[in-house]
Amino acid sequence: MKRRDFIKNCIVVIAGASVPLSALVMVDPKKVLAANPEIQWAFLIDTTKCVGCGFCVKACKTENDIPFNANITRTWVERYVFTMDDQRYIDSPKGALYGFTDSRVDLGMGEFKEIDPRNVGKAFFVPKLCNHCATPPCTQVCPVGATYKTDDGVVLVDRTWCIGCGYCIMACPYAARYFHPTLKVADKCTFCYHRITKGLETACVNACPFGARKMCNIHDTNDRNTQVILRERVGVLKDDFGTKPQAFYIGLAQEVR
């Protein structure tokens, strides 16, 4: 075969093959796996309503089958106590799984501190969970693409593909991720994806007796919670990391990190 013929044949083959191939679309798990791409889930937390009962933590662990007493959790509540002499105390014993039943602040390593109530300047609770960032650093760093963001705005982990390197855990500025003690893969809050895609509330929202936790579709401007996010003064955690968190806080103090 002459060179000219060879090149001619090649062009014919490429031209012929490109027509059927163009019908194929690259499969994007984000699009395929998203249950409702028109929805953009967001979370709204009213810190002024939280009393630190820990029902949300219990509900989450039970609903998502996370080893109950293991010292990791998908959601947790932090207690902040600021004294009049400018001392700051923060704790979250077992992620507030059993609530804050002890008035003493847990200092770690088995030490506790009793604070005189008259000396307390301000004190409050802050519930935390995965922020399901719009630009999540955890999905960016996964070497195998086992963690991804769905089109409806939820960051998920593929437990069958995660290699357990821990890079996503390191990359998350909110410490929302951990290794599942029995499955040995990275694990995190899923916004109860199995529930919200069926029209149910997340376990923690459902369990909160004071309505401190709410969920909404940020695209639905008729939703009351969406209106709060869009109309009221709400804050997000650590916005300096450029992660664009989708968990919004009412009454967020600047000391909360």
């Binding site: 662990k61 039970t62 089958d65 080893p67 109950f68 007493n69 293991a70 010292n71 990791i72 959790t73 947790w76 932090e78 700051r88 105390y89 923060i90 704790d91 979250s92 077992k94 992620g95 200092l107 770690g108 390593m109 650093p137 960016q140 760093v141 996964c142 070497p143 195998v144 693409g145 086992a146 593909w161 995660c162 290699i163 357990g164 390197c165 821990g166 890079y167 855990i169 390191m170 990359a171 998350c172 500025p173 909110y174 410490a175 929302a176 991720r177 951990y178 290794f179 003690p181 029995t182 040995k184 893969v185 990391f241 450029g242 990190r257």
Partner: protein, 430 residues
């Protein structure tokens, strides 16, 4: 059911060696432990050893001929070990291959497979070019031998395979090998630097970690990699030469009994010259590495951004001994003085290289563990307790013995590779 799970699964990964103090977020542990300290340390040794060998192959520093061949073979022995700590650290080691199957290219780790394999093939090619003549000659010698033993037959098979059918030993063919070798070494230097620079990038790009996040990280890692690689090569070279001298004196080995065997004085002379020259390069790279590290520290202290309060407590108080005494004083300042003061001897240089290796290890330790010594809340600390006596598989592989296994493996590999690719006693080679 939940209670049952709770009974069995109380221990979370990282809980065994992490002690939390003040307020640390519930999910925070020292997830990256001793094996992740070993990973950049071992990759650094690979890259550094290769750079040393390239000094001879690319820049034709003739005096480094022997140590260059040694470093090349040694960097080949170190190669599989660069991967070992990662495999030992993975929670799902059998899925490690996924990194090659479905690389997710926005991740710094995903390039590992590609960069690592590219680098491995470059080192293998260069080794093959250096040793091709040896393979052919050995195969021919074994072929001609009467009464081959089983071992001889095995070696014959190995050497025959290793020649890859290229048995031409004419002058032109050898010359061609030389030129190709120079070219491979030339390509190898940037790839070696990339291999290690990107190990630095893995850490430097974690924006969540205040200590790691700096664009200087890859450069610091490259410089300290070369430092550690050169130091290890000098150390091992001296040790091997000492063993050879010992054998030559007592005629303990087959080669030592041959008429052409080098005398103790010859071995001594070669060793002296090569070690002192290599240690000069070590000094240059040490200056570069130290300058960058100190610059990073000063910059953090001077700019005093939000994270500085907690970083200062970690660097200046909690880890002071590890950083300023073990790393900078014993690992950097002391060996630097030992090598730069006049009247330097091989013994003094060798001792200095041991300290340098220790210093680089401590630098990796202080970066990897130190970066996890404070909470993301900036309100608490985590302390790392290296598991010494293994209680289970996890505390073994992420403990002292796991790290020692990784550290010992290259020497075992080197012993076997040296059987096929002899570092010393080759007449016609480059």
């Amino acid at each position: 059911m939940l209670d049952q799970v709770a009974q069995h699964a109380l221990q979370v990964h990282g809980e065994a060696w992490t002690v939390k103090e003040l307020f640390v977020l519930p999910n925070e542990y020292i997830y990256w432990s001793i094996q992740i300290v070993m990973y950049p340390f071992m990759t650094g040794l690979v890259a550094g050893a290769f750079v040393l060998s390239s000094l001879y192959h690319v820049f034709h520093v003739e005096k480094l001929k022997e140590i260059a061949r040694f470093s090349l073979v040694f960097s080949f022995a170190l190669l599989p070990v660069a991967m070992m700590p990662l495999m030992l650290h993975l929670q799902q080691p059998f899925r490690g291959i996924n990194v090659l199957m479905t690389p997710h290219f926005t991740s710094a780790i995903s390039a590992f497979g590609i960069v690592f394999l590219t680098y491995a093939s470059i080192v293998a090619t260069e080794l093959w070019l250096v040793y091709r003549q040896h393979f052919v000659l050995s195969a021919q010698a074994l072929q001609a031998k009467q009464n081959r033993s089983v071992m001889d037959s095995i070696f014959l098979l190995i050497f025959n395979c290793l020649t890859l059918g290229a048995r031409d030993l004419s002058h032109e063919a050898i010359e061609k090998d030389h030129r190709a070798c120079t070219r491979m070494a030339g390509i190898g230097i940037p790839v070696a630097c990339f291999l290690h620079g990107y190990a630095g990038f893995i850490f430097g790009s974690v924006k969540a970690n205040a200590l790691w996040m700096t664009p200087l990280m890859p450069v610091i890692f490259i410089c300290s990699a070369v430092v550690s690689g050169v130091a290890l090569c000098i150390l091992c070279y001296v040790l091997v030469q000492e063993i050879r001298k010992f054998m030559a004196k007592r005629k303990m080995s087959r080669w030592a009994r041959e008429a052409s065997a080098p005398t103790v004085a010859e071995l001594d002379g070669a060793e002296h010259e090569e070690v002192l020259l290599a240690s000069n390069y070590l000094l240059y790279f040490m200056i570069a590495a130290l300058t960058l590290e100190i610059l990073d520290l000063i910059f953090r202290g001077y700019t005093q951004v939000k994270s500085w309060d907690i970083l200062r407590k970690v660097i200046m108080e909690r880890d002071f001994f590890k950083i300023f005494i073990l790393q900078y004083t014993i690992g950097n300042a002391v060996p630097f003085l030992m090598m730069s003061l006049p009247g330097r001897t091989v013994r003094r240089t060798t001792l200095a290289t041991v300290l340098v290796l220790f210093g680089v290890f401590m630098m990796r330790y202080n970066v990897v563990i130190g970066g996890q010594a404070f909470s993301l809340s900036f309100a608490g600390f985590m302390e790392y307790h290296l598991p010494i006596v293994p209680e289970d598989w996890e505390t073994f592989k992420e403990g002292l013995f796991g790290a020692l296994t990784v550290a010992a493996t290259p020497f075992v590999l080197f012993y076997f590779i040296n059987k096929v690719l002899p570092v010393f006693g080759m007449k016609e080679s480059h």
